[in-house]
């Protein structure tokens, strides 16, 4: 099946209030061309699920987020995402559901394998339990009788991930050191879109990387989008590193509204192709 599509077509399927997951980790292999497309759209009141990086920072800055479900929001080389920091300190994210990093994985995994919850100790005894009043406990039915957190399935309406290579059928390949939780995001979602640096013939996968790099199979994907530079300014190892200079400029705009407006006009209020041209010309 030919699943090739575009960012515009994928984002056109989103509706206000949907729950959307973004793969990657911090400022690493994030589906940023999709994030930029959402920023240009009128979408609002989204529930965003992410091991957050600039995806979360930007969506919060644009007021797209009603509820944020996250393990952290970081730019890696800058430990705390500055736009997220500002949004938190201004109290502008209506519903904040901060989880332990492992709990987020557990919620995605539960949704992926169609269980209502998975048990864990993580969260007990901490303010995670107060921050997430929906969390309930479950008692082990065995002799230990232990009381555990029943981490509920984090079911997503739509998931977006970015890979280095893909074929038009929806098989995906990462060429960096870590696959993160991208497969779980896809498996937890009703509708799944994969952007990639390059669409290749299926027969060419193994000349790009080993068998083990084929983490995403076509049962996990509904739409494939060729998006060279699509993870910019986050890193996409195998193809490019993080654009630290660009990221620093982005980060600095959190403290300076004038600089933010200039950054937004220069890079975000324009189509993806123009964004990529501007980045290439830097």
């Amino acid at each position: 099946m030919d699943k090739r599509t575009t960012e515009a077509e994928a984002v056109a399927e989103l509706r206000d209030g949907m729950t959307i997951g973004f793969g990657g980790w911090g400022s690493r292999r994030k589906p940023m061309s999709i994030v930029r497309e959402i920023l240009r759209s009128p979408l609002r009141d989204l529930t965003v699920v992410s091991y957050g990086g600039p995806d979360v920072g930007l969506l919060c800055k644009f007021g797209k987020v009603k509820r944020l479900v996250y393990g952290f929001v970081s730019l890696d080389s800058i430990p705390l995402e500055p736009h997220f920091r500002r949004a938190r300190q201004e109290g502008s994210i209506p519903e904040v559901r901060e989880l332990d990093e492992g709990m987020l994985q557990w919620g995605l995994y539960a949704a992926a394998i169609r269980l209502p919850f998975l048990p864990t100790r993580a969260g007990l005894g901490t303010d995670v339990m107060e921050i997430n009043p929906e969390l309930k406990l479950v008692t082990s039915p065995y002799e230990d009788g232990e009381s555990l957190v029943a981490m509920p399935a984090l079911e997503l309406d739509v998931a977006f991930i970015h890979q280095n290579r893909a074929d038009m059928h929806g098989n995906g390949q990462y060429l960096g050191p870590d696959f993160y939780f991208d497969d779980l995001y896809c498996m937890a979602a009703k509708k799944r879109f994969m952007t990639c640096e390059k669409i290749i013939d299926t027969k060419d996968f193994l000349s790009e990387g080993s068998l083990h790099t084929l983490r995403i199979n076509r049962t996990m994907v509904d739409g494939v989008i060729e998006a060279p530079g699509g993870a910019h300014f986050t890193e996409c190892p195998g193809d490019y590193g993080r654009d630290e200079k660009f990221q620093s400029e982005y980060a600095a705009t959190a403290k300076d509204d004038e600089a933010w407006e200039a950054f937004r006009a220069e890079y975000l209020d324009l189509p993806e192709a123009d964004y990529q041209k501007k980045v290439a010309a830097r």
């Binding site: 980790w25 996250y70 393990g71 952290f72 929001v73 970081s74 430990p79 705390l80 997220f84 920091r85 938190r88 300190q89 201004e90 109290g91 904040v96 901060e98 989880l99 332990d100 990093e101 492992g102 709990m103 994985q105 864990t120 100790r121 993580a122 969260g123 007990l124 005894g125 901490t126 303010d127 995670v128 107060e130 921050i131 230990d144 009788g145 232990e146 009381s147 555990l148 050191p177 870590d178 696959f179 993160y180 939780f181």
Partner: protein, 253 residues
């Protein structure tokens, strides 16, 4: 040995926290812990595992400053494997605490109310799961009453009083081992697991520690002095692990 810096004393105290670790993953946040863990591995704890900070396990000990050289990679631990490993318990993490109380409840999530913090810090990250899954220690480069507090604003890492409330099943892997600051070493070896001053670093008085701690510490009749690095340890720190002396920027003498 009069030229030993405070940071070097802290480094050895960190290494000592990992004594007896055996074959487990050691994860560190902060410069001094990174140097101290490497020191432990190069001396009395050769079997500990460390990552390159991304997702390779390093078969060699890479320096914290100076020329890195070619890494020897002994394993692959993507985040998926790290999460399994840490819930499985074969790990000792040394995290930072922005606030810590007498029972070792830790906060590095935010200052003020979580709903609208005065200062958003790192967030919960993995602290809730870490502290119930395996041994945890804390590194505090700037000992002050604002860090050692009566009550933390938000609990990200579980302390002993909260662990006790969870009961023996849930808390069976809870183990806050050491708190190391620029002034001294602290443990919880008291009947009700209140924080105890285990040793003061050379040149620091018990009075200074008390003055800069926002809660009442357990203090024995005779407080030991943190040991100095051996000549071999000093050489390893200065020549092999941290030739540029980054630790001395984190902790001033």
């Amino acid at each position: 040995m009069s030229d030993v810096t405070r940071a070097e004393v802290c480094t050895v105290a960190v290494a000592e926290a990992f004594r007896g670790a055996g074959e487990i993953l050691v994860s560190c946040f902060g410069t001094t812990p990174a140097v101290g863990a490497r020191l432990a591995r190069l001396t009395f704890e050769p079997d500990i595992l460390m990552t390159d900070g991304i997702c390779s396990l390093l078969g060699n000990v890479d320096p914290v400053s100076g020329e890195k050289g070619e890494p020897v990679i002994e394993g692959w631990v993507p985040f998926r494997s790290i999460f399994d490993l840490l819930w499985g318990g074969r790990r000792h993490v040394m995290m930072i605490a922005s606030q810590i109380d007498r029972y070792g409840n830790q906060n590095f999530a935010c200052i003020g109310e979580h709903a609208k913090p005065k200062a958003q810090l790192l967030g919960m990250r993995g602290a809730p799961g870490n502290t119930l899954s395996h041994r945890t220690s804390y590194w505090i480069p700037n000992h002050s009453p604002g860090v050692f507090v009566e009550k933390v604003d938000v609990v990200s890492g579980v302390g002993y009083d909260r662990a006790a409330q969870l009961g023996p099943q849930t808390a069976k892997h809870h183990d806050i081992h050491r708190v190391i600051s620029n002034l001294g070493v602290f443990d919880f070896e008291t009947p009700d697991h209140r924080m105890r001053l285990a040793s003061v670093h050379p040149g620091v008085s018990v009075e200074e520690v008390v003055e800069k701690t926002g809660f009442e510490l357990a203090i024995g009749d005779a407080v030991a002095e943190t040991r100095l690095p051996s000549p071999e340890e000093l050489q390893l720190i200065r020549e092999a692990i941290d030739p540029k002396g980054f630790i001395n920027k984190e902790v001033r003498s």
